[in-house]
Each structure stands twice: as C-alpha cells, then as structure tokens.
Symmetry: C2
Subunit: 196 residues, 2 copies
DNA sequence: CCAAAAAGCTAAAGGCATTAGCCGAAGGTG
DNA sequence: CACCTTCGGCTAATGCCTTTAGCTTTTTGG
C-alpha cells in the first residue's frame, strides 16, 4: 500500500463535513479535495465520480439513521416503539439538517442495502401490532412517509408559523400510533376517540 | 417593446418541459436556452439567475398543486375532503414525478405566497373538524408531512416491494382521517393513548 | 535492493453560469 | 417621416467544476 492518507471511507467523512457545514449543493469534489489536502483528480483513486460519492454519502446517512432508530426501539414494542422510532429519526434530521437534505432515495445497489436494514427495523417494530406481512409493508410505508415528510420539511425550514414543531410532531406520533393500533386484528374501539 | 418572443413565464414553461423530460438535475440555463432557440446569456434578460429560475419553477408547481387540491376539495368536508385532497395531491406527483422532485420548500418571497395559498386550502379543510386555530396549524403540518413524504418517496421510486402503493396510500388516508377525527373536541377516550 | 502497485500530481478538455459590452429592432414622439 | 430610447438578443470572456490521460513518487513485499 502507498501513503495510507485517504480511503473511500475518509473521503465520505470529509464529504459529510462539507455537507454539514455548507449544505448539499456545496458537495463538490473540489471542496472535498481541499479538505483532504489533495488535488481534485486524486479523489478518483478512491471514488468513481461525484455521483458515486453522493451515493456513498446517502448510504452512510441511511446507515446512521438505522443505527439511531434501531437503538431507540430496543426493548420497546408497539406504540412505545413507534414513538421512540419516530423521535429518534426526527432527532437525527434535526441535528444534521443538511445531511438529511442530502439524503436521496434513488436506490443504488449499496444504498438499498442500508435502506433494507432500516426497513427491517420498521417492519420488526410493526410486527408487534400483529399484522400480516403485507399489512406490515403498507404500514411501514405510511410510517416512513410521515416521518420522512416531516423531517424533510423541518430540515428545509418549511414551517414558518410560530407554533412549536415539537407539538406538531407529537400529534403526528399520536396519529400514527392510533392508526396502527386500529389495524390490529381484534375488537375495534367503538368511538372515534383516542385509540380509534 | 422589442420582439415579444420570450418572457419570464415562457422561460418557466420551457424549464418545466426540461424538468419533466430529463429530471430536475437537467434544469440548466443552457438547456432552457436551447429550447427557446436563444443563446444562454439572453435568458438573463428575463430571469435573474439559475437560482431564481428554480424558485419560479417551484412557485409554479406549488400553484398547480394548490389548483388541483383546491378543486378537489370543493363541496366536500371532513374525512371526505381529506380523502379528496390527499388523492389529488398524490395524483399530481404521480403524473409529474420529475416536477414534484424539483419542488423545493426553501421559501423565497413569491414561493411562500403560493405555499400560503396551499396552506390556506389545507387549513380550511381542517377547520371542518372543529379545531381551534392552533390545532389546525399542527394538523395541517401533519397532513402535509404525510402527503408530501409519500409523494416524494413514490416520485423517487423508493417503494421497491411488489405491494401496491395504491393500497398503502389508502391506508395512509384512513390513518390521517381517523387521526383527525380523533382530534375533534368531544368526549376524550378513557385510556392514556389519546391526549398523552 | 528491486519491482510492481498504489496514490498522488499536472495538464488539458469540455460543460455550465455569469458578466460585460455591443447591436439591431420596435415603438413612440416630434 | 426621422429620431432616439429601450428592450432583447448576441458574442466574448472568465471562472469553477468534472473528468480523462499520462507521469511521478512512495510504499511494500519478495
């Protein structure tokens, strides 16, 4: 091996720094090369091109989210787990808004691997509601859509009004938890109230 | 006035063509200029720069969504209106996936005007549930997050599994409608699931 | 000590955004 | 009708970024 300064992983590390500090639009090979103390073309020894770097960044982010969310659900189940999951996911987006905006779903081969891990955590959490496999898929999509939508909007500063986003999110959590409970096979609640 | 060939509106029209056909990443002043049959620098007579063009495109898209959603809600109320609203919103994203991906929330002055119109429709729809103003804001955020999240994911082809997205979305609609009904002032549920 | 591979460098091409300054056409005015 | 102002287009030029090609240096394993 030659000078062990850089590696694909380190390049992704630096790319994340750039994203965090300057936003996804500033993620450029030049910017990363500067931080690496290296000329831009040298990066091609570690990464195929900018598109691939973006993909690696997305994969890394997805992995990080899966880590946090997976940890959050440990030892919890049903509504409790859903609340923990949603809270952890949003917290990640809040702490790294640029990073979250850089997240792109366009599934490359490796990105979908990280995505599958995250999806697995979602599905495992939802199985506690006693759904069949197909219902789990649909419910997981809904949960993911709600969380992702909220996180994206918040990361993009789309909530202009003075109302606390925390309160809005708490409402979303309750809506999702209630909706999932309603899917549980068994006696449905009579009223349209809390658990309905 | 000189040759009335181009105008800011026409430039946005052409930009939308580019986005529809080639995706948001291909929205470039050169590409738009080509379609206009004009040299790239000429566009600066109609648009301040690429960033502004992107903003105008977003504004136009937001306006279109507000049109469709507003029309869909006409004469409906409560759950019925929510279903129509969510369906119309998603249909727009399905019919113009690239366009939807090009939508960016970063509120410029005019974009927020179109956004305010859309928000107004949402709020008016939710007021049928008898919420107070603050509750409407929180509920509107949740609804927006859920719809937007689903639409983004679907537009980015993030649903890989064979299960029908239509079914998933129907579930999301039911979850949101149920959740909103549960907010209606009235006899609170006995369990801790409700307002906790 | 030597050779091969890894990792860096410079040079160069090509695309795009943006600025500056020029020119011709349209329209109104006297 | 002649004029002149303004509008909208053009060319030239700059600078940034990606990407390819080919050279050089360093490291490492035998």
């Amino acid at each position: 091996m030659a000078r062990a300064a850089l590696s694909a992983d380190v390049v992704v590390d630096l790319a994340l720094q750039v994203v965090d500090e300057l936003g996804p639009a500033a993620l450029t090979l030049s910017a990363v090369a500067d931080r690496a103390g290296v000329a831009a073309p040298s990066l091609y020894k570690h990464v195929r091109n900018l598109a691939e770097l973006r993909g690696l960044v997305s994969t890394r982010i997805t992995d990080e989210i899966a880590d946090r969310v997976g940890e959050a659900v440990l030892g919890r189940s049903a509504d409790d787990a859903v609340r923990a999951l949603m809270t952890a996911w949003r917290r990640y987006a809040q702490r790294h808004p640029h990073r979250y905006s850089a997240l792109v779903q366009t599934s490359g081969p490796r990105t979908s691997e990280a995505g599958a891990r995250l999806l697995g955590i979602l599905s495992a959490t939802l199985r506690a509601y006693g759904m069949d496999d197909s219902a789990v898929v649909h419910a997981a999509r809904c949960l993911r859509a709600a969380v992702h939508g909220f996180a994206v909007l918040e990361a993009e500063n789309a909530f202009g009004l003075p109302e606390q986003p925390d309160e809005s999110y708490d409402l979303l959590i309750r809506m999702m938890a209630a909706g999932l409970s309603a899917l549980r096979p068994g006696p449905p609640p009579a009223t349209g109230g809390g658990d309905g």
